[in-house]
Amino acid sequence: MIWIIMIVTGLLTFWMRFVMFSGLTPRTLPRSLEDALDFVPIAVLTAIIVPAVVFTDGNTLAIADNTRLPAAIIATVVALLTRSVVMTIIAGLMALWTLPFIGF
């Protein structure tokens, strides 16, 4: 069963990467669909980021006593300033590792 889901997922992923230069689709998308696609990365990735930051083990919401939250905020600031994936990862991990030593 898992193999089937995995292969279907793989084919769907490939198709999404291929579809716009497959020669089978019109050269331009309908305007409203194009507008909606603009929000896909933000909406989708936020839905992964937020629970990974605020839900610690056991699916409990943790705002206080959760180093991941300030670390994620620091990483966001670094991402906005540097626009660099590398710098964001370094800043976020450094914050996560060092903040507990200064009282977070």
Binding site: M6, M16, R17, F21, T76
Partner: protein
């Protein structure tokens, strides 16, 4: 082997004769100082991609560890990296699978995560549409977040370069090799990474680096907030349905804000 075959094939496509030598191939490019050869462009893609490996290497290791921890077999974990070849979607797949999510919801959630690739596909389409079928298949397979990011930049800098697609081949192939290798290392060496390092935090950090700079207007902010709120309050829903709801809700909120603002500014 594959690169050689594609390079050879490219040289024969440049001219009408199939017995064309490499010297002839270079002569074509000598007409214009700005043009690089296919091989130069390939290595340029490899070079442009290499800084991003700092994020990809730990991400691949984390996926390898996570896959096995989620109950996938080592073979399934390793092959998923070449069958799906998408960091976010593979991690989500493993997490959903581990929590006993029904297959339809696993497939649905992973597909909505991957919808953003349609955007990349649309964005590179004008640069790749003229290529032969097998080229488009290979480049589509390699079109990940990272490969897209570095190669679209190059495409836009040199839109008239006839061998520009070799840049995407180089950046995509380096990423592919790195992803397969680190997944395998994660699978077999995973147990030795101490959990106190919290390397799984690299996954949300990578996405923060993509999302934060992408938020440029009110509609983007609305999409982000809506998705975050639904993701938090939807955690209790069965089948991890919150992912589909949060992503769909965020897209709808952004779209609605855009159209509301648009109408208001026109009147």
């Amino acid at each position: 082997m594959m690169i050689d075959a594609i390079l050879d094939n490219h040289l024969t496509q440049d001219g009408s004769r199939t017995d064309m030598t490499i010297e002839n191939g270079q002569n074509i490019h000598d007409h214009n100082d700005h043009e690089t050869t296919a091989l130069q462009e390939f290595w340029r893609g490899v070079r442009d991609q290499s800084p991003l490996l700092v994020g990809v290497v730990p991400f691949g290791l984390v996926f390898g560890v996570l896959g096995v921890a989620s109950g996938l077999s080592p073979l399934q974990t390793i092959l998923m990296s070449s069958i799906v070849f998408g960091g976010a979607s593979q991690v989500l797949f493993a997490q959903l699978w581990a929590s006993g999510t029904p297959p339809v919801f696993v497939g649905g959630s992973v597909s909505i995560i991957n919808l953003r690739h349609v955007l990349y596909s649309a964005s590179v389409a004008s640069h790749l549409r003229h290529l032969p079928f097998y080229w488009r298949v290979v480049l589509a397979y390699l079109l990940t977040d990272e490969a897209y990011a570095v190669s679209i930049k190059r495409f836009m800098e040199r839109p008239d370069n006839p061998v520009k697609h070799f840049h995407l081949l180089g950046s995509g192939l380096l990423l592919w090799i790195c992803w397969q290798t680190t997944t395998a290392i994660g699978v077999f060496a995973g147990v030795t990474i101490p959990p106190t390092l919290s390397l799984d935090f690299i996954i949300p950090l990578t996405f923060i680096a993509i999302v934060a700079p992408a938020i440029r207007n009110t509609a983007h902010v609305m999409a982000c907030i809506t998705s975050a709120v639904i993701a938090i309050f939807g955690q209790a829903l069965p089948w991890n349905a919150w992912i589909l709801l949060a992503a769909g809700g965020g897209i709808a909120a952004g779209w609605a804000t855009l159209h509301f603002n648009g109408r208001r500014s026109r009147t």
